[in-house]
């Protein structure tokens, strides 16, 4: 079994390439839609090599996404897992299913926080078609602010969140109004480049202004949710059906969920939200019906920033963090999520965030060398990024036009 499996994986990429190249040619002459054929050929080739490709090549069936893309993708994942289990028989992830389950639920909980973070990025993008390269810094700003507020008071972390939200909202609006106005007003030649460089510059400023305020690059541990119990919840660990959950993390996840639900309500149930979505769909048409796209941009940027700040505020009482490392790492997570889910899609941001949360938790928990797990936790995001870019650049819930 094992040598066969490994052989398959060494040969897998070769068969994958063969399938991706030759199946589309076959379909071109037979049925059309070579694009899907390329994907199917690549995936089936990787999964079962010639045994899957030969029947496809011979019979040229009508391709369906479920059967010819999702199924082989699942099979490949399964084979990879088998291979992993075989290579690391002593790994705790292989020997203890409950541990894996525990990692998954941790990942999902963290994913809820990631969703808050990423939905801010996606909101800004949908309204103005720019990506904020300051997003990670806003998360860190929220985190540092929370840390400082908690240090100087004895409130439960939840009660400082409104302050953080307002502060980051104002910060966002000021940046949008003063620095990003030319993008919105269309008064510059290359708005995309300008937005990238400008938000990147603001990011550098904010990063080192925060480091300067704290004195040095430091590791920060803020007061935990359970340090200042609310409703008498002060148990550090929650146990349920054999799974152990950190109470702090659960509370943070719950906060993330509440924020996400509130955001959905705002976007889909209020007129403000509807005007956002109108501008996102068609700026000119929105202008015709009397929506001021400039004001919408300011609001969206402010709310997007506030979401980042809130994510930081919710994270900090559950995890230790490092200034300034936190900025780049959270930023990368947000980018991976929005690309995975499709830029501009709120549902995509949620599902992408949950997925990334699980992938990261499994990488951190299962990486053969535990001391490196934390590093590759972040790096696993890049792998997800790469796969999405190659397979489906518009993301899984995005529109094809991006």
């Amino acid at each position: 079994m094992a040598p066969g499996l490994i052989w398959l994986f060494l040969a897998g990429p070769v068969w994958s390439a063969l399938g991706a190249v030759f199946l589309p040619r076959r379909y071109r002459t037979q049925r059309g839609d070579p694009q899907l054929a390329g994907l199917a050929g690549g995936l089936w080739g990787a999964a079962f090599g010639p045994f899957a490709l030969a029947p496809l090549y011979a019979s040229v069936p009508v391709l369906r996404r479920g059967l010819h893309v999702v199924l082989p993708a699942v099979l490949i994942s399964g084979e990879l897992l088998l291979l992993f289990a075989h290579a690391n028989p002593g790994n705790v992830c292989v020997s203890d299913p409950l541990y894996v389950l525990n990692q998954v639920q941790t990942g999902l909980t963290v994913g809820l926080l990631y969703a808050t973070m990423a939905s801010g990025l996606t909101l800004i993008y949908s309204v103005q078609r720019i990506i904020s390269f300051t997003h990670g810094q806003f998360v860190m700003f929220g985190g540092v602010l929370t840390f400082l507020l908690l240090r100087d008071s004895d409130l439960n972390p939840i009660f400082v969140m409104p302050v953080v939200a307002i502060a980051t909202f104002v910060l966002g609006v000021v940046i949008a109004k003063v620095l990003l106005k030319p993008v919105q007003a269309g008064t510059i030649e290359r708005p995309d480049e300008y937005a990238i460089l400008m938000t990147f510059g603001v990011g550098i400023f904010l990063t080192y202004a925060l480091v300067g305020m704290l004195g040095n690059p430091i590791a920060v541990r803020a007061a935990r949710y359970t340090d200042r119990p609310l409703f008498g919840i002060d148990r550090a660990i929650f146990e349920f059906a054999g799974m152990r959950m950190r109470t702090d993390l659960l509370i943070a996840g719950a906060v993330g969920l509440v924020i996400f639900v509130a955001l959905s309500w705002l976007l889909y149930r209020t007129w403000t939200g509807r005007s956002f979505r109108a501008v996102a769909m068609d700026r000119q048409a929105a202008a015709v019906v009397g929506i001021d796209s400039g004001a919408v941009f300011l609001w969206a940027f402010g709310i997007g920033t506030a979401l980042a700040g809130l994510a930081g505020a919710a994270l900090v009482p559950a995890f230790n963090f490092q200034v300034p490392e936190m900025a780049a790492q959270t930023a990368i997570r947000s980018y991976v999520i929005v690309v995975l889910g499709g830029l501009g899609s709120l549902r995509g941001a949620l599902l992408g965030a949950l997925f990334l949360g699980v992938v990261e938790a499994l990488t951190a928990g299962c990486y053969p060398d535990p001391s490196k797990g934390a590093t590759y936790q972040v790096a696993s995001g890049l792998l997800v990024f790469l796969v999405v870019l190659l397979v489906r650049p518009q993301g899984f819930f995005g529109r094809a036009d991006t």
Partner: protein
């Protein structure tokens, strides 16, 4: 180069050579000077990639770091006593090659990505490189740092080495910028789709520029860090990338030499601000200096988007001040159109479209469309909005792949070929919305297709032909203006001039008359007729039926993705299907279905 332009460069070079003799008093200062030169090298290569080619990659520093680490690891693994392989220069070359390979892979991966997506991916790549270097401490030493073999000679020699590298880099980078590759890179930056339509292989160009700059930055990194005793993951910090961006923007993104000057000045400034003493006060800004750099970047972008140094460099170089565009009357602007017979040649026209199919998602945009072009003609392509006209043009010219059917050019299957290949095979197109290379001069706009179509032609001849085309369209007096400064009508003319340079047998014109002054409209009409008289076949999308009937000798009518009529205008005019489609009998009103939205969206990209 003119003497006036060369003089400041010579003075600058002499000053830089004299720096260690005249001003430097300690080895530490020499280190800073060397770092300033290295930063200048980084900025030059990034300017080429981001400013000239428009590829905003944040993986630049990571590539330099990868080269340095590769060289260092090789140097540690191979004893220095082994000839060639153990030599420091071999390690350096190896580092540069590793950077080249990784840069090429990166270029290929990000091929389909533009703007922000590219920046996102490369930023993540750079950060993860750093994390991996920190984590794999058994190999890289992690934060404990890694010893690295030193280049022979002391700090003074190393200073001159970096100076030599800088000079060589400037020479190479400016040679590239002035070559046809540089022209194509700028065209790709301005509008990748149009560059492809003009016959530029943008795919290869993009990978090429990634590889090339990766090699250059890898070389710089490998050389520089072989003069620094130890490597730490700090060299991969995002802040280092931030510095390069600041230097490039403060210099002026499109001007590598301005970026280099900004880098040198700012590195020294950063060092000088370590301790500030004003009278009795002593301030140590420390980390706030970095925040200050962020502020400099933000303020420069907001207040002087073209950079601070670049305008000064241009002034020193004595570049001619651009005349402000006169708003003369439109007739004098166009002038009489005269056609040199030199541009005419023997043409064979054979384009066949067979059963073309296309759908976006579930929407069928084109169904079983077939027609052919076999002789010089002006063929109108008409139909209500959303009929699939632009989609058809995009399919034929290689911007979309058809879901079914075939496009044959000269009897050969060409569907699925890329746009530039269609151009080089003799099929040219324009875009519905006028798209010029805005930050290039009018003359350069024409040189792009000319040099792409005739790779071996010498520049002088190409310029002559471009000026000839400008004269034909009455744009001669605007040759040195930026295309972005032209009026809408002038841009239309520029687009036609580009087609003249492209000199293809078949032309697909997507609404060339849209939004054009009536007088100009007439001139363009005459021009199109002349293109036909020279033996070309022109397919013309147009909504104004008067224009269509006056110009075209054949009409093709599309409605809801199917071809409903094909023939002489008089027959088509009486065709009941056409009347139904245009006048809305049977409730068939003018629709703006999703297909049209898609097509226009694609057109804008």
């Amino acid at each position: 180069m003119k003497v006036r332009a060369a003089m400041p460069l010579v003075v600058l070079a002499i000053l830089l050579v004299l720096v260690p003799q005249l001003w430097i008093t300690s080895e530490y200062q020499l280190d800073i000077a060397r770092m300033a030169l290295y930063s200048a090298c980084l900025t030059i290569t990034w300017s080429l990639l981001a400013g000239v080619a428009g590829q905003f990659s944040f993986a630049h520093i990571a590539l330099a770091g990868i080269a340095a680490y590769s060289g260092a690891l090789w140097g540690r693994a191979i004893p220095a006593t082994i000839p060639v392989l153990g030599n420091v220069w071999f390690s350096i070359a190896l580092g540069a090659v590793v950077a080249l390979v990784i840069g090429t892979i990166l270029g290929a991966v990000v091929l389909g990505l533009r703007g922000a997506y590219l920046a996102l991916f490369t930023l993540a790549f750079g950060e993860i490189t750093r994390l991996v270097v920190i984590a794999e401490k058994e190999v890289t030493g992690g934060w404990l740092s890694l010893g690295i073999a030193q280049l022979p000679g002391g700090p003074r020699l190393h200073y001159y080495l970096m100076l030599g590298l800088l000079a060589a880099l400037l020479a190479v980078v400016y040679w590239v910028i002035r070559s046809r590759i540089g022209l194509f890179l700028r065209a790709m930056r301005e509008d990748s789709d149009v560059a492809a339509a003009m016959g530029v292989d943008t795919t290869r160009l993009k990978v090429l520029i990634f590889s090339f700059t990766a090699f250059l930055v890898g070389l710089c990194g490998a050389i520089y860090f072989h003069t620094i005793p130890r490597l730490t993951p700090g060299i991969l910090d995002l802040l280092e990338m931030g510095f390069v961006v600041v230097y490039a923007v403060v210099g002026g993104l499109e001007s590598p030499i301005a970026g280099a000057i900004a880098a040198a000045v700012l590195v020294v400034l950063l060092e000088a601000l370590r301790v500030v003493e004003i009278g009795p006060y002593r301030i140590e800004p420390g980390i706030w200096r970095y925040a200050g750099f962020g502020a400099i970047l933000v303020l420069t972008l907001r207040l002087a988007p073209n950079g601070i140094i670049a305008p000064l460099v241009r002034w020193f170089a004595g570049a001619p001040r651009r005349s402000t565009l006169g708003t003369t009357g439109i007739e004098s602007m166009i002038g009489p159109i005269a056609y040199p017979e030199a541009l005419a040649k023997q043409r064979a026209i054979d384009l066949r479209i067979e059963g073309l199919e296309m759908h976006f998602g579930g929407v069928r945009v084109l169904q079983n469309v077939s027609f052919g072009l076999d002789r010089p003609q002006i063929c109108g392509l008409i139909g209500p909005n959303g009929a699939g006209k632009t989609t058809l043009v995009n399919l034929i010219s290689g911007y979309y792949r058809p879901a079914g059917g075939a496009v044959l050019l000269g009897g050969e299957r060409v569907d699925g070929l890329r746009p530039y290949e269609m151009a080089t095979r003799g099929l040219g197109r324009t875009f519905q919305i006028t798209r010029s290379f805005r930050r290039m001069t009018v003359l350069e706009n024409l040189l792009v297709p000319e040099l792409a179509m005739h790779p071996t032609e010498i520049r002088q001849r190409a310029m002559e032909r471009a000026r000839e085309a400008l004269r034909v369209l009455g744009l001669e007096h605007l040759a040195d203006e930026h295309a972005g400064a032209l009026s809408g009508g002038q841009q239309k003319l520029l687009e036609l001039a580009r087609l003249l340079m492209l000199d293809t047998d078949i032309l697909l014109l997507d609404e060339p008359f849209a939004g054009v002054h009536p007088v100009l409209k007439k001139s363009i009409g005459t021009f199109v007729q002349h293109l036909r008289d020279q033996g070309r076949a022109v397919v013309l999308i147009e909504h104004d039926l008067t224009t269509v009937f006056s110009l075209c000798e054949r009409l093709i009518v599309l409605d809801r993705g199917t071809l409903i009529a094909d023939g002489a205008p008089d027959e088509v005019k009486r065709d009941p299907h056409v009347i139904a489609a245009y006048l809305g009998i049977h409730g068939a009103q003018v629709r703006a279905g999703p297909s049209e939205v898609e097509a226009e969206g694609a057109d804008r990209r």
